[in-house]
């Protein structure tokens, strides 16, 4: 992180959340050391990091479910701890490891949660919007994983919140269900809420988030758009192909920085138009590898270069 950059800078956009040097200690254990960031209205903001990075604790502090040990937090201009009642009216949340009573029915849960924050929309409309109308009279314990997910989303938005917190929403879902959940998340934003998404799935963060705060060991270590993070922290491109031919000439080709060889597998590191110039040089030498391709860096590479370790799932 360049020393002059302020993680709370939104280029003049309105901040719905500002967290400054947030700390959270449990006795001798420090769960969050320094979380500093701002979330702009209308964006999908990701908190990305491995398990134990302090993501959940951070969003729980933002929601006033835990009191930070240090630093300042402002959510919609409110102090999450002292103005929690007001905050509840204006935010929604889907929590990790939360459940409903086994025998509560879908409509009962929606009606109850809607009644907690008066003045919102009709919960029947929300039930229909999230595709739960047919399951209205089904008990919570009889819902499928995907249906529970939709119910939790519906409960999170039943009060028409300005900010919705989603904590590890897709953990434990199979890939197909995860894709459906991603659509739900996009839909929450399209319906006008700012989304704060906690996840440890790189792909999820990369696909959904406008901006991502990368957390590691209790700190926000970088914050930018997925493309911006990749450009800043993992700029290198890799051209990969298989050949048995001698490719010593490649190290002199434009945009190439390094050439590695492992058996038939050749990896060329470079930047800019490295793919085009390597392809041209290969064809010029009569080599036409059918599997020639570019490996663009991912958030995985960003995380590795930021923290020096891979993000084990």
């Amino acid at each position: 992180m360049p020393p002059h950059s302020d993680l709370r800078d939104l280029d003049g956009r309105e901040a719905v959340i500002t967290a400054s040097h947030v700390r959270k200690e449990y006795g001798a254990f420090t769960a969050v050391r320094d979380a500093t960031f701002a979330v702009a209205r209308g964006e999908i903001f990701g908190l990305l990091g491995p398990n134990g990075a302090g993501k959940t604790t951070t969003v729980e502090c933002l929601q006033g479910l835990r009191e930070a040990s240090g630093g300042t937090i402002s959510v919609l201009g409110l102090d999450p701890v002292r103005q929690s009642r007001e905050l509840r009216r204006r935010v929604g949340s889907q929590l990790q490891e939360a459940a409903l009573p086994d025998h509560i029915r879908v409509w009962e849960a929606l009606e109850l949660f809607a009644s907690l924050i008066p003045g919102g929309r009709d919960w029947r409309e929300i039930m229909a919007e999230w595709g739960l109308a047919e399951k209205s009279k089904t008990s919570f314990n009889a819902l499928s994983g995907g249906q529970r997910q939709r119910l939790f989303v519906a409960l999170a938005v039943v009060n028409g919140p300005e900010v919705v917190f989603l904590d590890e929403m897709t953990t434990g879902l199979d890939p197909a269900a995860r894709r459906i959940a991603w659509d739900l998340i996009r839909e929450i934003r399209e319906r006008g809420s700012t989304v704060v998404l906690v996840t440890h799935f790189m792909e999820e963060a990369e696909r959904l988030c406008d901006r991502i705060a990368v957390m590691d060991q209790g700190r926000v270590v970088a914050l930018d758009s997925p493309r911006g993070l990749i450009a800043s922290y993992a700029a290198g491109l890799r051209v990969v192909f298989d050949t048995q031919a001698d490719i010593g000439f490649l190290s002199g080709v434009r945009f190439v920085e390094a050439v590695h060889r492992e058996g038939p597998r050749v990896t060329v590191e470079g930047h800019g138009a490295v793919l085009a110039s390597v392809a041209a040089a290969l064809v010029g030498h009569g080599i036409e590898p059918p599997d020639l391709h570019l490996e663009a860096p991912t958030l995985e590479d960003v995380f590795l270069s930021l923290t020096g370790h891979v993000m084990a799932e």
């Binding site: 309105e14 040990s69 949660f113 009644s115």
Partner: protein
């Protein structure tokens, strides 16, 4: 960083960085926050409307909890089945006998046992059913979910009290009907006194139940602790062996537990010994003290 006094808090540790006047920087963020506070102000509601909203949530929670209880009647049946069963056994042993010593000498045994078993039902709901229910909710993350959506502690606990009151009422009626029709026990002498004592007893035992749920780390622990407390109370509070058969130290221990006092407050007005204000005050006091402790120790997760 110039932030408005409302909407932010600073505690210990690292503070905010020094002022940064550059436009588009945190200064601009803070003024945006200040505008939103001003915008939010009209949403603040008066105490009267807040109280009304609270009562609505409390009643809705109570209604849903009642429906949930009815959908899983096993809990309900077990709360009554044991006291009723033991009452039948005691009826078989002591039916027709009279107390031959102590302040209640001459009273028919069953006239003692029937009202005191209403107390035993209240104790079983309070020390076992309620703490197991609450700590199961906590273990499964139901309380987490409720809290994040703005269910207040008092609405949650109030609904538990009201559901407990209803459950105890049904249990009390079952025992009363059984006593009056099967064992020829006279109906309550002072029904008002019995009802008041009953409500105060449910309050005290509900508070005890919340306290057990708050202290127990898991639902299983809550069940173990609750059952233990309930059994001990049952044996030395006049709900099994007659009190005048107990050795002094056991009686003294019994008198230090809430069920003994609850039994007295139910037996007295039922049998024409009058409404015992001192005993009811003791039960109410136990309830208040336990409520304060339970409120301080209550955990959502």
């Amino acid at each position: 960083m110039t932030e408005p006094p409302t909407g932010t808090h600073t505690q210990g540790g690292a503070g905010a960085p020094p002022a940064d006047p550059a436009p588009g920087s945190p200064g601009a963020v803070a003024s945006g926050a200040a505008r939103r506070v001003a915008h939010a102000a009209p949403l603040a509601i008066s105490p009267g409307r807040w109280a009304l909203a609270f009562v609505k949530v409390l009643l809705r929670m109570t209604w849903i909890e009642t429906k949930l209880l009815v959908r899983e009647p096993v809990t309900l049946v077990f709360s009554f089945a044991f006291p009723v069963l033991v009452l039948v056994l005691l009826g078989g042993i002591f039916g027709g006998q009279h107390m031959d010593s102590g302040p209640y000498a001459g009273l028919k045994m069953m006239d003692w046992y029937v009202p005191s078993y209403i107390g035993l039902v209240i104790a079983s709901i309070g020390t076992v059913s309620l703490p197991v229910h609450l700590s199961t909710y906590r273990e499964r993350g139901v309380l987490r979910r409720f809290r994040a959506s703005g269910v207040s502690e008092w609405a949650l606990l109030g609904s538990q009290f009201l559901v407990g009151l209803g459950t105890c009422l049904i249990g009390g009626l079952v025992i009363s009907v059984l006593g009056i029709f099967a064992y020829g026990v006279a109906p309550p002498d002072a029904i008002g006194g019995v009802v008041l004592s009953f409500v105060v007893a449910v309050f005290a035992f509900s508070a005890l139940g919340v306290l057990i749920a708050s202290l127990a780390p898991t639902a299983r622990a809550a069940q173990g602790v609750g059952l233990l407390i309930w059994f001990i109370m049952m044996f030395i509070s006049g709900t099994s062996a007659p009190l005048d058969l107990l050795p002094d130290w056991m009686l003294a221990l019994g008198k230090s537990l809430p069920l003994y006092h609850v039994v007295i407050t139910l037996v007295d007005p039922w049998n024409g010994y009058g409404f015992d204000l001192v005993q009811v005050t003791i039960v109410g006091g136990i309830g208040l003290a336990t409520t304060l402790m339970a409120a301080g120790l209550f955990r959502w997760e």
